[in-house]
Homo-oligomer: 257 residues x 2
């Protein structure tokens, strides 16, 4: 008996022309039928933003005889997922994959990441979902080294599903294929960005700023994503969107408000 | 012995001119010295977005003899907190409060909310932090009804602090003061937005869309923020930024990747 090919939604936050999403498309074509809905330009650092105070545009950019449909969206990565589910697929795909991001989304970066927010949005909508990121900001990063892992992890999710309310945050170290030691299931490392604002002058003499910062890992644990990446492993952190800090409820109830 | 007045950072996502932040300023002036750094326009639904592909502007808008300093920022609510800590206060305030939002940020809305993301950013930076939201989108909503609760909750946080890595998501029902039954410590209700895109035509005949949607509570629990608000209580959900789904790690480790 032929098994129906799964339908896989692909998105990202670097924009539809990024090499990272092209690598992801190549892998997913081996696993199922695909639909691509991605931002029409870079959307890094957009977090879980949605577009409610502005209009949205959606363009089908694939040719009628293409192997799969591709859409460019003027909105955020989260808008892309909402568009795909509500207007294009008009239902749930079997899997949503986001990335492959040019740059790591490990540790606290999960919160700022458009790549991961797209994956989380799919998770909220009940779709098994994975965000993939490579610890290399280079536009011409070596995605070939990691595609076997991408395929294996996506296959596992298609095969067994994910625990309810769980999304995978997968990060890859910048290493050659043969130097990657394996895969580790991790927790999110505690870390912060130490910000500095680069102050400059416009040609008219007005001050303006660029946000810059330095990532600082505050976590010495050997069970974190930061540790795994630093030691040559692929990190997988299961991520949830129930943000309730259950352990704090008892303390707050002692306030007797 | 005189106790030093605490320093309180105030921000929001509806923009610095919103009545909600004015109400919050009035309350916080009773509790400490304040600094206001808020977006120069509406930033609802921006989530945890930061501005990395664009320039930022910061204007001091308070007069030299004003009772407190006020800054308008061209960035997102999260940018405002980063600016305040890094460039204005050059250190940590004793408390950060965000809001009072015009509209609820209960349940899954915590993820899309600029108000809550500003509070979470402060929490990541180690600052005790609270987001306040009123279940009323009206620009002229009745904030007076809830200011006694805002003052009590903020006082408690100043007095006792919060468990590490925890931020408060406080939501108020749209009720008269005397009809509010009390305060409940809650968990985040499971809910989703059922999206529809309102398709229109530009004057040039090109399709464009507005994101709209209907909120759907999927959670029958009586310990949720949705239940509390519906039953006349103020809801407080402790929120965390460690998104690790610890309960899923055992399942993932069984994959033997």
């Amino acid at each position: 008996m032929m098994k129906k090919r799964p339908l896989i939604l692909i998105t990202n936050d670097d924009g539809i022309t990024a090499p990272g999403i092209r690598a992801l498309i190549s892998v997913m074509q081996q696993l199922g039928d695909i639909i691509v809905v991605a931002p029409d330009g870079p959307q890094s650092g957009t977090g879980h933003a949605i577009t409610i105070n502005n209009t949205l545009h959606l363009e089908k950019i694939s040719k009628p005889d293409a192997a799969f449909e591709e859409y460019a969206c003027s909105g955020t990565p989260v808008d892309c997922v909402k568009f795909a589910v509500s207007e294009i697929i008009k239902g749930k795909p079997d899997l949503c994959v986001s990335g492959i991001n040019h740059g790591s989304n490990s540790s606290i970066n999960v919160i700022y990441s458009g790549t991961m927010s797209a994956a989380v949005e799919a998770g909220i909508e009940g779709i098994p979902s994975i965000g993939f990121s490579l610890q290399d900001f280079d536009w011409n990063a070596d995605f070939d080294a990691i595609t076997p892992f991408v395929k294996e992890i996506a296959s596992k999710v298609l095969e067994t599903g994910l625990p309810e309310g769980t999304i995978l945050n997968v990060n890859f170290p910048k290493l050659k294929r043969e130097d990657i030691k394996g895969v580790k299931i991790c927790r999110q490392a505690k870390a912060i960005w130490l910000e500095t604002f680069d102050k400059r002058k416009t040609p008219m003499g007005r001050d303006y700023y660029w946000l810059t910062g330095e990532f600082k890992n505050l976590d010495n644990g050997e069970d974190t994503d930061e540790w795994a990446l630093k030691n040559g492993y692929v990190s997988i952190v299961p991520v949830q969107f129930d943000l309730t800090a259950y352990h704090a409820m008892q303390f707050l109830n002692s306030w007797n408000l």
